[in-house]
């Protein structure tokens, strides 16, 4: 039978199929962080069982960490306790932790790929819905709840029903100023926030083939925002070149052997999907969201749709927008460039290239937060920090930061923030904060203008 990329990886990881029930799926890599793991460790302790395969687990601290003065003890007592529990749990169970201050520390979905922990063909889980990011490498990667974190601790397996399969094709040439973030915001705006529920989504077509690994990660990251458990892209030379030489990637002959296998990881020509949709690259423009879910997106130069119903009215009221209005020229006092969606080196390069030689608007507060220590070092090494500082921005230390505002990085109530993160839910970036999701380029242009502007005209 013809198989999809998803089938090939899934089928090779099924330990056992329960009759009339789920599959026992083997997990190659389990990533953990401080927020969704403590209760799972407690669960194990209460049952008096040990972690089965500690060598297949990697831990980082990211959700709750400050982005200033990371060398000092954390002021917030609860945050400090959560991090010290993570350290203790990792020590007790022989789990590798890249904690705060470690050169490998960073947002879980940024540090694991850049260290070569993420490799094609793997199954990867983490107690975090944006685990879908790793699908960019041709992996089955998905977010799980804390009970499931405990299950993987106990057995390195999960009981899961095989999801349905969908494919989204985008072909053609992207317009100037259109980034991977715009592509995925466009797809979600067309398909809706629950179109992917029950599915794993493969992205195919030359738009994705021509994307860098960073871009592919941005796309796969937001699969969950259309409800899909995960997204994935067939691995190719771009993938292999990215993985080769990374700290924990296979080396020498072993790498070549793996690569030969990775090359087989693509959807067979006549394989059938449960659902398939196609878009044209030329139709995509820089995108912004106007509401309180990521599906409520329009092109930057567009206007808010009319007549959408009660829940949409509630969203517009929260955002302070009205039906039919354009977001252009809306004053914006905050921008955030960061999060597991857009905090990789390429994101800062594109923002810096726009910002270079310009000054940020006086009304704008900017949070520029790299995804990892390695990205932070690269920003310095490439001279981008100087560009940001000359333009009036301050670079923070890595972490999830204002994406979910668990630390001190919060957007004040009622304020608009053009954010490169993944969720514009009510209160996501702080109580009462109003989030407009966009690409790093749109965020950079907003910071310079102090309002949303059509920057595409000024691109060379």
């Amino acid at each position: 039978m013809k198989k999809t990329l998803f089938d090939k990886i899934w089928d090779s990881h099924v330990v056992e199929s329960i009759p009339n029930g789920p599959d026992v799926l083997y997990i190659d890599k389990h990533l953990i962080h401080e927020v969704t793991s403590p209760q799972a460790f407690n669960d194990l302790k209460e049952r008096n069982i040990t972690v089965y395969r500690p060598d297949k687990i990697v831990a980082t601290a990211d959700h709750n960490t400050p982005t200033l003065n990371q060398h000092l003890p954390i002021k917030d007592l609860l945050s400090r306790k959560q991090l010290s529990e993570l350290t203790q749990n990792c020590e007790e169970n022989n789990i590798q932790l890249y904690g705060l201050g470690h050169p490998y520390n960073g947002i879980v979905h940024v540090m694991a790929p850049e260290l070569g922990i993420t490799q094609p063909g793997m199954t990867i889980v983490c107690g975090d819905s944006h685990t879908s990011t790793h699908g960019a490498f041709g992996t089955i990667a998905f977010g799980i709840g804390t009970s499931q974190v405990a299950q993987v601790f106990a057995s390195q397996c999960l009981l899961v029903e095989k999801p349905k399969k969908m494919r989204v094709n985008v072909n053609g040439k992207l317009k100037k100023g259109v980034l991977p973030k715009d592509v995925i915001l466009y797809i979600i705006s067309k398909l809706g926030t629950n179109s992917g529920t029950g599915y794993f989504c493969e992205y195919a077509g030359d738009v994705f083939e021509n994307m860098s690994m960073e871009g592919r990660m941005t796309v796969c990251n937001m699969s969950i925002e259309m409800g899909a458990r995960g997204g994935l892209i067939a691995p190719d030379d771009t993938t292999f070149n990215y993985v080769e030489g990374k700290e924990f990637a296979p080396k020498g002959g072993e790498f070549e052997k793996r690569k030969a296998y990775w090359k087989t990881l693509k959807t067979d020509d006549d394989a059938v999907f449960d659902k398939e949709v196609s878009f044209e690259a030329e139709d995509i423009e820089p995108m912004v969201t106007y509401g309180t879910n990521p599906g409520m997106g329009i092109k930057l130069t567009g206007s808010i749709p009319t007549g959408a119903g009660k829940s949409a009215d509630k969203a517009l009221e929260y955002m302070g927008f009205v039906q039919g209005e354009s977001l252009l020229d809306k004053p914006v006092n905050w921008i955030f460039i960061g999060s597991c969606t857009n905090s990789r080196i390429e994101d800062f390069r594109v923002a810096a290239s726009y910002i270079k030689g310009k000054q940020k608007a006086a009304n704008v507060n900017a949070l520029i937060v790299p995804g990892s220590r390695q990205v932070a070092n690269q920003i310095k090494a490439e001279g981008l920090q100087e560009i940001f500082e000359n333009a009036g921005f301050t670079l923070r230390q890595p972490g999830c930061s204002a994406c979910l505002a668990m630390n001190d990085d919060k957007i004040p109530a009622g304020e608009y923030c053009v954010s490169t993160s993944n969720r514009n839910f009510e209160g996501r970036q702080g109580q009462g904060a109003r989030t407009i999701l966009a690409s790093p380029l749109t965020a950079a242009a907003t910071a310079i203008a102090g309002k949303l502007v059509d920057f595409t005209k000024s691109l060379n």
Binding site: N20, N42, R47, S129, G143, Q151, A154, C157, N194, R229
Partner: protein, 197 residues
């Protein structure tokens, strides 16, 4: 895990669609390291006004409504994977959530905590909202054994789907960890085979 077999009780309607887990339990309350105490912050920013007063427009604060069944708008539980959302609903006293659609991860988390997600047709959901609007103390029966939800007064009923394995778990109060532990030998064999490839 607590068993669930059958329940007849009053319900609380919450008609908003796309309720995400950030609304169910905002991120700033995720700093706890145990499972207790999330109930008091359930729907925190909807239940309370900015100055920390009860928001009387919100249905959970409406004295006419109470009970262990939450009837919610389409696509309930989207967004973050935080299981804290299921813990918060459970701790507040809910045993069942009814909606016309559930996000995957939330659904799994709910089932792993003895909180039954019941997916009904959009038409039946509308019927439930109409019923609760006209009769706030009207009762609903959720029968897991027969996979049926019904309106007590009118007898209107609909069947719902549940994975047979998960149904057995809910009816008996089993959880996945026990099952997986019983499979360690098979898992070990799989691992040994992988090493040889």
């Amino acid at each position: 895990m607590e068993k669930f077999i059958k329940l007849t009780a009053t319900a609380v309607p919450l008609e908003t669609e796309n309720i995400d887990t950030d609304q169910i339990i905002p991120a700033r309350f995720l700093k706890a390291t145990d499972k207790a105490g999330f109930g008091e912050n359930l729907f925190r920013d909807w239940r309370f006004t900015k100055d920390e007063n009860l928001n009387l427009d919100f249905s959970l604060n409406n004295p006419s409504y109470s009970g262990p069944i939450l009837v919610a708008g389409d696509n309930f539980g989207c967004g973050s994977s935080r299981e804290h959302a299921a813990w918060a609903l459970k701790a507040y006293g809910f045993k069942v959530v009814v909606s016309s659609y559930f996000a995957d991860i939330f659904k799994g988390n709910a089932l792993n905590n003895g909180l039954l997600p019941v997916q009904v047709s959009p038409k039946f959901l509308e019927m439930l909202f109409d019923y609760l609007n006209s009769q706030p103390s009207g009762e609903i029966t959720v029968d897991l054994e027969n996979q049926q939800i019904s309106i007590k007064d009118s007898g209107e009923a609909e069947n719902f789907e549940i994975d047979p394995y998960k149904k057995t778990c809910m009816l008996n109060g089993y959880d996945d960890i026990d099952f997986l532990l019983s499979r360690r030998d098979t898992i070990k064999k799989y691992e040994d085979k992988q090493l040889q490839i």
